[in-house]
């Protein structure tokens, strides 16, 4: 049963190699790839991207799943009441959005993850997800770049 013992290892290797999210682990905000995780601006929270469509669809609603937890409490993910999400395009701006989305996402919590439904990108290019967190460790914001959309 040697083969059977190796299957989980192969599966793990395959998932690490096959997933751009895994390759991007370590964070960063690089256009052209969705970062797997980022720290909030003041370093209070870690936001991990657990599920995102690849490629992101243009002109269709889609969902992403995030895991949000305090740096000092990594095993206690935050619930939906502590997290809100907006998205927009910066078009080179350092602060704020040049424009936002034309939809209002709905945030819920499921199995320790924050599920963000109703994201809608109506223009190709780099979109920025603004995750506002208001948990036990205080208020903070995290930013993720989502490149839209294939092509």
């Amino acid at each position: 049963m040697i083969t059977a013992r190796y299957i989980p290892l192969f599966t793990l290797l395959f998932s690490l190699i096959g997933s751009p999210l895994a390759l991007a682990a370590g964070g960063g905000d690089v256009a052209g790839a969705v970062p797997a995780q980022v720290l909030s601006e003041q370093g209070r929270y870690r936001v991990e991207v657990r599920q995102v469509p690849e490629p992101l669809p243009e002109g269709e609603h889609f969902s992403v799943s995030l895991r949000v937890a305090g740096i000092d409490n990594p095993d206690q993910p935050l619930g939906a009441d502590a997290v809100s999400v907006q998205a927009g395009m910066r078009h080179g701006r350092e602060e704020g959005f040049a424009h936002g989305m034309q939809s209002e996402p709905v945030v819920s919590a499921r199995d320790g993850l924050i599920v963000v439904e109703g994201l809608y990108f109506h223009m190709g290019g780099a979109w920025t997800l603004q995750v506002t967190i208001d948990g036990d460790d205080g208020k903070d914001q995290a930013w993720l770049t989502l490149p839209c959309c294939g092509g």
Binding site: E58, G59, H61, M89, H91, R93, A98, H99, G100, M101, Q102, S103, E104, P105, V106, E117, G118, Y120, H122, M123, G124, G125, G151
Partner: protein
């Protein structure tokens, strides 16, 4: 010539060679990125939205479109403003029907591919947008009870309706169904009061008549489809050849304009996809003209109040109720209007939601030299990405836009059908 001078001359010659290749960069072959962008504009649209539905229903819709009895005083039909010979527009800045409209008449060609309907997206389906026109006092100025009675009163319309949708409500019972009435009528007006006095079941019966008429009109409008412009033919050639020679159908200016359109001028940020529209709403910072028009803000409020949206009781399976869950706060999109399709744009002047620009050149120049004046809402900063363009580049863009006209639709769908009776 001394050594340094010779060197300078060589550098100057090299610089000139780089700056002025045999033909300018905008005259050269299309890059892979440009070809991919062109392909995205020429892909066939989702055919499911225009699949041939019931012929009977579409024929009835075609009759209704040309029938003046749909208006309150019998003087106007849909075709009064959506003139088939003018690409289903009227050539006016603002339409003239029962009153002077406040928004430019959009074309109906390829309308089935819209995601939202009307300039403010107040309707989320093709069938339901017709109901907004019928009861608009500036357009057909009718009310839904009078329209139902009109169907009932005229044997040809009544037979045509009942053949497709079954019996009309018992409209002869005037106590239950007054001659006029609508929930859209001005609060406190006789029409509003008459509607309020009806039972919910009778209101529902009249609303269903309206929805059915909308579906008949939509079935016909799904046939107004054309994606066969000179641009489409050029794009097909470009798919195999990155450097097709200019010809009469797609001259050098149009070719340069297309490169600008998908490149430097950034037009495809909003005018994307096979309809040259991202189907979204944008605030362009237009100065207020004749009246304050809040655009999508008003559209979202009207949509939320409509029983005919995809979330309402009259929707079947043609809508997308899911997206209504995620509508933004209306005020966020104050002063935003839907990106219009650019297909057939040369035939659909004047331009913008209030027809403020008479020519394509004026419309293009607006993006380069935004006029000053009081605006509504927040101007979208995407517009700042658009670079200055030379006069020649503007002319090239216009030359390209003129290649987006499609061939005329067949007369079988653009004229009142024969026999005259529906």
């Amino acid at each position: 010539m001394s050594g340094p001078c010779k060197g300078a001359a060589l550098i100057a010659t090299l610089a000139l060679t780089v700056a002025a290749p045999l033909h300018g960069a905008d005259d050269g072959p299309f890059t892979d990125a440009e070809r991919a962008a062109v392909r995205s504009l020429a892909v066939p649209p989702d055919a499911s939205k225009t699949e041939a539905g019931s012929t009977e229903l579409a024929e009835f819709g075609q009759h209704l479109f040309f029938d003046r009895r749909l208006s309150g005083d019998g003087r106007f039909s849909c075709a009064s403003c959506h003139k088939p010979e003018q690409a289903f527009t009227d050539g006016l800045a603002l339409p003239e029907a029962a009153g002077r409209g406040t928004r430019n008449t959009p074309t109906l060609i390829n309308v089935a591919h819209n995601r939202w309907f009307q300039w403010d997206g107040a309707a989320d389906s093709l069938w339901s947008q017709m109901l907004l026109v019928v009861e608009n006092p500036r357009e057909l100025d009718n009310d839904r009870l009078n329209l139902a009675h009109t169907l009932y009163r005229h044997p040809d319309l009544r037979a045509a309706y009942q053949r497709r949708f079954g019996p009309l409500p018992p409209l002869a019972e005037q106590e239950r169904f007054p001659a006029h009435g609508s929930p859209q009528a001005e609060a406190g007006s006789p029409e509003a009061r008459a509607w309020q006095r009806m039972t919910p079941a009778d209101q529902d019966a009249v609303n269903r008549v309206m929805a059915n008429l909308g579906r008949a009109l939509a079935a016909w409008q799904r046939r107004l489809v054309r994606y066969d412009s000179r641009f489409d033919r050029f794009a097909a050639v470009l798919a195999d050849d990155p450097d097709p020679p200019p010809d009469q159908a797609f001259p050098a200016a149009a070719r340069r304009g297309l490169k600008l359109f998908v490149g430097e001028a950034q037009c495809t940020l909003c005018h994307s996809g096979p309809d040259f529209s991202n189907q979204a709403f944008h605030n362009l910072g237009l100065p207020i003209k004749e009246h304050e028009d809040t655009g999508r803000e008003q559209g979202l409020r009207r949509l939320a109040a409509s029983p005919f949206s995809a979330a309402g009781p009259y929707a079947q399976d043609e809508g997308d109720a899911g997206r209504l869950r995620f509508l933004p706060p209306p005020e966020r999109l104050r002063g935003a209007f839907k990106t219009p399709s650019l297909r057939n744009v040369a035939r659909t002047a004047p331009y913008f939601h209030d027809g403020r620009f008479a020519t394509l050149e004026e419309a293009v120049r607006f993006y380069l030299e935004p006029p000053e004046g009081e605006t509504l809402g927040e101007r979208e900063a995407t517009l700042d990405l658009i670079p200055d363009l030379s006069d020649r580049q503007v002319a090239d863009l216009v030359a390209f836009l003129k290649t987006l006209d499609s061939a005329p639709l067949p007369e079988t769908v653009t004229t009142p059908p024969e026999p005259r009776s529906p």
